[in-house]
Amino acid sequence: MKALRKLLDNIKPHVEKGGKFHYLYSGFDAVETLFFVPNTVAKKGAHIRDAIDLKRTMFIVVIALVPALLFGMWNIGQQHFLSIGETETFMGTFFFGLLKMLPLIIVSYGVGLGIEIIFAQHRGHEVNEGFFVSGMLIPLIVPIDTPLWMVGIAVTFAVIIGKEVFGGTGMNIWNPALLARAFLFFAYPSDMSGDKVWVEGMGQLDKVADGFSGATPLAVMAAEAGDKVTTFANGIGNWSVMELVIGSYPGSIGETSIIAIGIGALILLFTGIASWKVMFSTIAGGLAMGFLFNAVAPESNVFMQMPAYYHLLIGGFAFGAVFMATDPVSASQTSKGKYIYGFLIGVIAVIIRVVNPAYPEGMMLSILLLNTFAPLIDFYVIQGNIKKRLKRVKVTA
């Protein structure tokens, strides 16, 4: 630890302003602050400061993502071996997924952090920790067979167009991870949808094991929208409600397990990092819209008849509500605004799912749409405060 400090102190003069390698300063600073909390003291304002910082905050979010990540790794292997009709031990299944998952994570972090460091150097800022989380979210919300170059391009697009053009973390309008997902969805639709992309290696298989389908529950629902086949008493298609909760079905890597996401949600809510207002109202919005559809559903529309709480179990609803909608930068900033913002995310996600079969997953578009409108919601909430203040002047005058 002392040796490391000494090493860093030796390098520092060369990368500081005026040094020969100043262009490496932001990278050096990122490494230095990773190992050591800097010796900065309060110069103005309060003389003591809370122990909290953005590094720890973002780190806790990453920890909250770990259950979904671990489950996702297992599920990659599980779905793969199911599709080829073989059985594998628990550890074998997990390691299969781990090996498939690692390249995605490495590409996501490598490309994203690289761009962040270049921009930080250019601006003379410190590297912001925001990408700690985005870099983990992106691999979790793509299909496992997404080619690595696509991930690289999507990350580049999300970081530059989604974040840096606005001034970096804290200034962005949209959630960068979702923007990467949306980019992939619209740029390479054939690799992002269909029945084969959700299971590792299924695209290359000549023959799938008997009875196995790579379709996601959402796709099943969208396909069945016209026929009246499902009763929902035992879940959707081949999956029971229990399986939907556990998450052992094809889907984006991290989105399937309600239990794993639930553990993450508990961590975020307990530490207070994610807003319970957003999480709660998103779920309330989804349920409300689901119930409304149930109430008005015609006989022929199976999707509308689907019990409202199923919406929370399938697709990216839970993952989005817990990890995406609650992003403090792109969400509403005001307390009242958060309720409105979350509720509308839930409502619109379910509308897109049910009414527009072209986009089976409504959560991504719904959150991005509300990200766009969050500043407007805040504007009206704050306008209320301003009006109150003006009214007070008139009363006393």
Partner: protein, 448 residues
Amino acid sequence: MSKTIKLNKGLNINLQGVPVENLANSGTSITYAIKPTDFPGLIPKIVIKPGFEVKAGSVLFIDKYNPEIKFTSPVSGRVKEIERGERRRVLRIIIEAESEIRYDDFGKKDINSLNSNDIKKTLLDSGTWTFIRKRPYAVVANPEEEPKSIFISGFDNAPLAPNYDFIIKENTKEFQAGIDVISKLTEGKVNLNISDKTGSVYSNITEVEKNTFIGKHPSSTIGTQINHIDPLNKGEVIWYINPQDVIIIGRLFTEGKYDARKIVALTGSEVNKPMYYNTIIGASINSITENNVKEGNNRYISGNVLTGTKVNKNGYIGFYDSQLTIIPEGDYYEFFGWIAPRFKKFSMSKLYFSWLMPNKKYALDTNINGGERAFVVSEQYEKVVPMDIYPVELLKACLAEDIDKMEQLGIYEVAEDDFALCDFVCTSKIETQDIIRKGINLMIKELS
């Protein structure tokens, strides 16, 4: 009608070094200083030169733009030095004190027979007018304005703050005299705000409206109290005074002299025996801290850890301060600090373990525990600003120098001390007090 106000927002930070209720005389202060920098926005015009003889109550400098506002010497002696900083800005005027203080005579007065103009004149001439500050802007009050009410916060619950029950106890008579004087300055009420923990010290004080505040810091700050009792609107003015300064004003009228004695609490984890001292405004820090501070690299703060001013250990106590805090400096590197359990650090959040030990007292240092970032986390400031205000939006308006927006969002109702806890809790380590003060200075410049 007296009000009782319960605040749910706020934060109490438990620090080591709470002063025990023991009053001693400070050591002899050889020199005293009055610092124009203690008065935000002031451009001083110096009227003395080094070598001049002054008495307690003699004018040292005046406000260049309001020449009737005078700043006077707290002791008698000889002007030793006028210390200047960058661009010849006056930093402090140092006076070498005599052993026996001689006073300028302002005449004993029968307070009941005075009108508001007589009072203003005496206050202005003696320099005690400068104890009266105003909102908006938290600067010295303008004698030509009509305040809609006057506020006195009779308690302080900032970290390690002195207990005013103990300070006022021996001086209730002068305090009442001061109240009698002040109440003639307004048509409105004089609000004396106390906390539910305040004892009986103010129970016999009359001519005031007593309001009780229940809740954590910043319930003792003037901005919070005004916001809940008599919210300030555009064009209105409220004056406010510290309780100890009320006593000095009381003495001015009953004894006819500017007797600037006050009690200062010496606090903080680096003090051997934190306690109270009898001293005089502008006294040297040495005279109070003598043999009572631990060795080491310490920060001396005139005031409390949230809003105080950093001073040199050979410096002087601030004009409005009743507290001196000494804490360790934090200029060290901490290996993997951001990920470590850090049992010795305090956090409002649940990212550390301090929430498990609500009564533990901490010896916090001045390390800011991280790097400065853009606003990322939302609704963090709202937890510690118990006012009907959107803090982040107001800060952003200040940063953008958008005067209309600042006005709409309530800049008139706040001052930097209302944002002190925002400085503390901020994940992004944003200097909110600095931003607010710059915003206020901009308002003063643009609107005057």
